[in-house]
C-alpha cells in the first residue's frame, strides 16, 4: 500500500546529511566535553563548532545559545527562568500558544502568583501587535508569542511585535518586558535573525527540521538572567547543567544549517502543493473550512475542518489508506477538550472536533497530494453517512 506521511509538524525524518555528521559522535568521539583530556577536548571542539554555526544562523553570539532537551524545555526555561529570576510581575501571551508555553505560563499564574493576559487572535489566528502593546503594563516582565502556530500554521508578526516592545522599553528607559518567541515550527521556512525579529529569547528544536529528537536550544540575549530549572554542574553556564548531548547538538546544528540554506527553494516547492491540497479539498468536499490564514501561513501547513464527522475517526480511516495526518479533535487528547487553537479562532466545538491537519515535507510529491485528494472524499462520505449530525453553515463560514 502507498504510504503518504503528512505529519511533518509532529516529526520529521532525520536528514541523512545530519545523520552522517552525527555518526562519529555515537561510537568514536564519545568523550565528555568537560573532561580535561584529548577525548574530552575533541567533544568540546565539536560542541563549540555547533554552537558557533547555530549562533551564526541566528545572528547571535555563541555564548547566547543554551542547549536543552528540546522545544518544551526551552520554552519552560525561557518562561519560568525569566519570571522566577524576577520573582513577580505580569506576563503577556497569546491564546494559541503551544502547551509548552501555555502550561508553563498557567503554572506561574496558578501556583506562583504571577498575573497573565492572554491576547486573543483574529479569525485567521493572527495576533494583533497593537493588542499586545495594549496588554503590556508597567509591571509586565515577559511577552511570549509563537513565531508560527503548530496546528493552523499562521505566521505571527513577530518582528512588528518585537519592534513595538523595543520602542516601549526605550521610551520608558526600562529593561522590561522581555520578548520570547517559540520558533520551532518556523525554523524550516522563516528568517531566524534575532536582531530582525527583535526578540530577547527564542526557542528552537531539532525534531521539526529534519534533525534529531530530544535536542533544542534557547537563544538568550546577553545580560538576561535566568533561574535554572535544574541544578548540577557548570555546563551551559550553570543555567542548564548536565553532560551535553553532543551527538544531538551536532545533528541539530547540521540540520538547521541545511534547512535554512534550503528554506527558499523548499518553500517555493511546497506552497503550490499546499495550495493544491487546500483548494482540492475545499472544492471536492462540501461543508469544509480552512483553518488559519490563507497566505500568512507556513508553506507546509494544511488544516481543514470537515463538518459533521469527528477527527479521530477520519485519522483512523486515512491511516488505513496509508495517509498519516493528525487532528485537533478531543478524542486524541487526554483532556477530552478539543483544540484550544481552533476554539480561539471563534469556532464552535463541532468545528474543532472535525479538524484535520496535513503537514507537508521534503518527501511530499504532487502524486502524494493527488492520492490524498483521491482517498479523502469517499472516506468523508462514508463517515458522514454514519453521522447523525449536520452542522449549520452559519457556524463555520
Amino acid at each position: 500500500m502507498r504510504t503518504v506521511y503528512l505529519d511533518h509538524a509532529a516529526a520529521t525524518p532525520l536528514d541523512p546529511r545530519a545523520f552522517e555528521a552525527m555518526r562519529p559522535f555515537l561510537t568514536q568521539t564519545y568523550g565528555n566535553p568537560s573532561s580535561f583530556h584529548s577525548a574530552g577536548k575533541e567533544a568540546k571542539d565539536a560542541l563549540d563548532a555547533a554552537r558557533s554555526s547555530l549562533a551564526t544562523i541566528l545572528g547571535a553570539r555563541a555564548d547566547e545559545i543554551l542547549f536543552t532537551s528540546g522545544g518544551t524545555e526551552s520554552d519552560n526555561l525561557a518562561i519560568l527562568g525569566v519570571c522566577r529570576a524576577l520573582g513577580k510581575g505580569h506576563i503577556v501571551t497569546s491564546a494559541i500558544e503551544h502547551q509548552a508555553v501555555m502550561e508553563a505560563v498557567g503554572h506561574l499564574e496558578k501556583k506562583e502568583g504571577f498575573e497573565v493576559t492572554y491576547v486573543p487572535v483574529d479569525k485567521h489566528g493572527l495576533v494583533d501587535p497593537e493588542a499586545v502593546v495594549k496588554a503590556i503594563r508597567p509591571d509586565t516582565i515577559l511577552v511570549s508569542i509563537m513565531y508560527a502556530n503548530n496546528e493552523i500554521g499562521t505566521i505571527e508578526p513577530i518582528a512588528e511585535i518585537g519592534n513595538a516592545i523595543q520602542k516601549m522599553r526605550q521610551a520608558a528607559g526600562s529593561k522590561s518586558p522581555l520578548f520570547h518567541t517559540d520558533a520551532c515550527q518556523a525554523a524550516g521556512a522563516l528568517d531566524l535573525t534575532v536582531e530582525k525579529l527583535h526578540v530577547d529569547l527564542l526557542t528552537l528544536n531539532g525534531s521539526k527540521i529534519y534533525g534529531p529528537k530530544g535536542v533544542g536550544l534557547l537563544y538568550v540575549r546577553r545580560g538576561i538572567k535566568l533561574q535554572p530549572l535544574l541544578f548540577g554542574g557548570s555546563q551551559e553556564k550553570g543555567i542548564r547543567p548536565g553532560t551535553e548531548n553532543v551527538v544531538g547538538i551536532v545533528g541539530l546544528a547540521t540540520a538547521l544549517t541545511l534547512a535554512q540554506a534550503e528554506a527558499k527553494t523548499e518553500t517555493a516547492r511546497l506552497i503550490p502543493l499546499r495550495d493544491k491540497l487546500i483548494s482540492g479539498i475545499l472544492k471536492s468536499i462540501p461543508k469544509t473550512r480552512l483553518n488559519g490564514h490563507p497566505t500568512e501561513r507556513l508553506p507546509n501547513n494544511v488544516n481543514i475542518s470537515i463538518m459533521d464527522i469527528e477527527g479521530e475517526a477520519m485519522i483512523l480511516y486515512l491511516d488505513a489508506r496509508g495517509v498519516y495526518a493528525s487532528t485537533g479533535s478531543a478524542c486524541t487528547s487526554a483532556s477530552l477538550d478539543p483544540s484550544h487553537v481552533i476554539l480561539a479562532l471563534g469556532m464552535p466545538y463541532e468545528v474543532a472536533h472535525g479538524s484535520v491537519r496535513f503537514t507537508l515535507g521534503r518527501s511530499t510529491s504532487e502524486a502524494d497530494i493527488d492520492y490524498v485528494l483521491e482517498v479523502l472524499p469517499p472516506l468523508v462520505e462514508k463517515l458522514r453517512s454514519m453521522s447523525p449530525v449536520s452542522v449549520d453553515e452559519k457556524y463555520f463560514l
Binding site: D7, A9, A10, H98, Q99, M102, E103, N150, E151, D308, I309, E310, G311, E312, A313, I315, L316, Y317, D319, A320, Y324, A325, S326, T327, G328, S329, A330, C331, T332, S333, A334, S335, L336, D337, P338, S339, H340, P348, Y349, E350, H353, R357, S385, M386, S387, P388, V389, V391
Partner: protein, 212 residues
Amino acid sequence: MPDVTSFDKKQSWFYTDIVREHFFHPQNFLDHDPAEDEFNAIGKVGSPACGDELRVWMLVDAESQRIKNFSWRTFGCGSAIASTSIASVMVTENGGLTLEEARKLKPQDIMARLGGLPPRKFHCSVLCDKALRDAINDYYRRHDEFDKIINEAWRVVDPVAKVTDHDIEEAVLDGAATLEAVQAKTKVGIGNPSVLPAVEELIRFYREKYFG
C-alpha cells in the same frame, strides 16, 4: 490541552482487532432515512459539542417484546463507532434481547465484547447503553405502558452529555479528585460549561462522603 496528535501505525494503534473490525465495517448503521414501519422507538444521547452524539432507531416486536432491529448513527471517534456497532449486534443477535434484558446491558458488557478499550476511551465513548435505555423508555411511552418507564434513579447533571450524579460518584470512587479528572472520565460539562459549578459541588460532596 491537546496538541495535534497522530497515530503511528506500528506503535499506537491502541484498539483491539474487534474494535477495528467494527470501526471499519460497522454493522446496522442507518444509511437511509427510515420509513415509519422500520422502527417503533428512538433514543438519543450526547451532542457534537461534547464530541460524541448517538441516535438509535429500534424496532421491537410487540408480542415477544424482543428487539428485532437496531439501527444507529454516530458522530464520534473510532471507539464510539465501534462500541455502537457491537452493541447493535448484541441486542439483536439470537432473535434479539427482550426489553427487560436490554435494559440491563452495561457499558462494561459492551467493552468486554470489544476485547477492551483504552481506559480514557471507556467512559466517554461507550454511550450506546444510555441511548438504548432512552429508546426503551420511548417504546413504552409510545405504547402507553407508562408504568414500565424507568427514569434513572439518579439525577442528570449535564443534560447534553447525559451525565448523572451517579456517574460523578463513580468517577470520584474511581480516583478522580479534581474537576479535570472527573471530566476526563465522564466528559461532564465539555461544551456545556454552565453545569460546572454544580459538578464541582458534587465532587466535593462525594470526596467528603468517601474520603473526607
